[in-house]
Assembly symmetry: none
Homo-oligomer: 155 residues x 2
DNA sequence: TATATGCTTTTATATTTATGCATTATATGC
DNA sequence: GCATATAATGCATAAATATAAAAGCATATA
């Protein structure tokens, strides 16, 4: 019960700007999950979710801390030299085995140009600068298809 | 009036974990600044200050966004090769003496991994990519302890 | 001087979020 | 299965935050 609801909350907050807990309840109801405000209040506290402010509108909305959104390399089929993938704001950082960052960067430059403004590679760290209005999930899907051996999941 | 109060708020929030607006009003009163809850509510909105959750206690407290914070090298005791530190959004740029950026990057990789997703170094410029939803004050404290010779100040 | 204009602030109140307590569900040991 | 412990939930309400409306105050303007 709780676990499924919290997973749903992550999904919902990842896709929508939710401005208060009543609104979140509605989204949940649309998925067939019924709960009360008190319950989601506790969920949010437990998940460390916070309310941030929209720079422009000034209105506030819930935000999932990054440690709940991980893109992890799939150990079974990892042939790409990728160690980890992490996203924060418009920045995606990909850690690779030593010497691999440039190669991965080249791949992303050619295959993810719709999502990426560009990349800069060190030796084992690749910086991908994401475009402003992309849908993060699309980029992740793109990554998954482009670079065999990584998969994303929530939590 | 307003400007001085907001400056005080930055100072107070940088040094203390303030848990609600009434508490903030008390801190202000201790500095001889009298205002009402409604006023600081607007101040916080205007300054984009948000409430985060303490990882351990679960209780929440106000946090100042990056564009109000500056970290500067302390000229008196600067022995680390660091020239300047500046933060914008999720990006921290550290300028160093020529050739030092890599070294500083390695230090940060090992000592600040909780706050940093990764670093990329040029010759005299180091880019530190910060995780989402970190408490910036914590990162800066960490930096100060990790790299002797820098100190931070508010605005 | 009187009037208008654009903030800032307060007061009063609405909205939003958190929480104590009782209840129900779920797990654990016998 | 039954008893008991533990956790999850809802209800009612308290606490915290935001906001509408009015008042204050400085500056500009006729």
């Amino acid at each position: 019960m709780k676990e499924g609801r919290q997973r749903a909350i992550l999904r919902i907050l990842g896709r929508n700007k939710v401005r208060n807990q009543e609104e979140l309840l509605e989204y949940l109801r649309n998925e067939g999950i019924v709960a009360t405000q008190a319950t989601v209040s506790r969920d949010l506290a437990q998940m460390n979710i916070v309310k941030l402010r929209d720079e422009n509108s000034g209105s506030s909305f819930f935000s999932v801390p990054s440690n709940f959104l991980h893109v992890i390399p799939d150990a079974n089929k990892s042939v790409s030299g990728i160690v980890s993938v992490e996203i924060s704001g418009q920045i995606c950082v990909i850690k690779t085995s030593p010497g691999y960052a440039n190669m991965v960067g080249a791949v992303i430059d050619s295959k993810c140009s719709g999502h990426s403004m560009g990349t800069i590679a060190g030796d084992d760290t690749l910086l991908v600068m994401l475009r402003q209005n992309i849908v993060l999930e699309d980029f992740i899907n793109n990554l998954e298809q482009t670079i065999p051996g990584i998969s994303s999941k929530y939590i």
